[in-house]
């Protein structure tokens, strides 16, 4: 039997409970029984992989998917995917999706009374490079209302889906923008008690990746679970 190392469990307070009552949709959808702890097996330490033949290299630029330019503030979102030991997560698939500048998703069930943009689809994907780096070009998404509570508004955000090296490292999250006045009121952003964990969901404005007379740069690093240094430590 091959020896392998399991992945670490999340640090206390950094991952949401499934039931978070302020987020009303969680009430009927969160499991009512405790999860069953599963020591990692070969099934959890392996995972799907995607190679460059499956990737559309143009899909990292969300501003060039139609004939014209989308309306809105052009942004460059870049960062690294690393594990908890700062090791780069190479060649992993990142998928992103977002609302347009007016706060409207190109989706049949989004009925928010804001205009669709014929030049903005709102989705992209890419593989990280050898250093775990990625770079998307997009427009800054708008805030939009939802029906969680009276006068509820989601802060501007971009959804990120990342696989990582193993079934155990799969992560879907959301990236927010610095200084957004809606953040303190959003039950999804505020789903964890640990303030520093929440703050890591907020991208950082970055002069180095800002392009003169073209686009504002934001940095967003994603950290996936790290591996145990000794086999079976997670048992």
């Amino acid at each position: 039997m091959a020896e392998f190392h399991g992945y670490r469990r999340p640090h206390h307070g950094t991952q949401p409970d499934h039931l978070h009552r302020p987020y009303v949709s969680s009430i009927k959808r969160a499991p009512s029984k405790p999860l069953v702890q599963l020591p990692h097996t070969l099934s959890e330490v392996t995972g799907p992989s995607f190679d460059s033949s499956m990737i559309d290299v143009k899909a990292c630029d969300l501003t060039k998917q139609q004939k014209g330019e989308p309306v809105g503030e052009r942004i460059i979102v870049s960062g690294r995917v690393v594990d908890e030991d700062s090791r780069p997560v190479r060649h992993t698939l990142i998928e992103v999706w977002q609302a347009n500048a007016a706060g409207r998703y190109r989706h049949a069930i989004d009925q928010h009374n804001a205009p669709l943009d014929p030049n903005f689809e709102g989705s992209g994907h890419a593989l990280t490079d050898e250093q775990g780096q990625f770079r998307f070009i997009s427009i800054r998404p708008g805030a939009y209302p939802w029906r969680n509570h009276y006068n509820a508004w989601r802060p501007a955000h971009i959804h990120f889906s990342v696989f990582g090296p193993a079934f155990a490292t799969r992560l879907i999250t959301q990236m927010y923008f610095p200084g957004d006045a809606l953040l303190p009121f959003d039950p999804i952003f505020n789903c964890v008690a640990d303030e520093s964990a929440r703050n890591r969901l907020i991208s950082v404005f970055d002069w180095d990746t800002t392009i003169c007379e073209h686009a504002l740069g934001y940095k967003f690093d994603i950290v996936l679970s790290g591996r145990h240094s000794t086999p079976w430590e997670n048992k």
Partner: protein, 200 residues
Amino acid sequence: MILRATTSQTVGPYFQIGLARFCVDDLTAPGVPGERIEIEGRVLDGDGEPIPDAVIEIWQADAEGRYPPEPDAQEADGDVSNRNRNQSEKLAFRGYGRIPTGSDGTFHFKTIKPGRVSAPDGTRQAPHINISVFMRGLLRRLVTRIYFPDDEANAEDFALKLVEPARRETLIAKQSVKEAGLLEWNVVMQEPNETVFFDV
């Protein structure tokens, strides 16, 4: 310095925009050895209502109980003939699927029955499909497994043994009453009959 893993967030209601491109509901391909199976089911909320905005992801071994290799593992392999073989196998069976639920909360996929893979205690696990569940309202992925009916290996399975006996059947697919060969397996979010979810 040890970093902390990024906080999970819900996929929200509009994930189809971002996740559509890599949806796969047929994991079989011509030439892939193994018993063809079809599984369908529903995702149900705490009121027993179907959930139309969920997505499940599949990760499974091939019929021989081997997980598809990572590209890195192939590149590290200096034997060119072996590498070619690995690549053709990878193209043939990727072990990956992603199926959003329909407006009636249903999902349906085709795959091959996986073989047995090793367990940490030295035994071999019963054939199973690893499942990730995402949906609007779920802040963090849920993980569960699909096992197969009437498989003797279930009795000695590493993960099933961790589950109280009365709840194990939520992890085992059933023969569908609709047609022979079709398996049914549902994701039930809350009691009674709540599906067993694993903390991985």
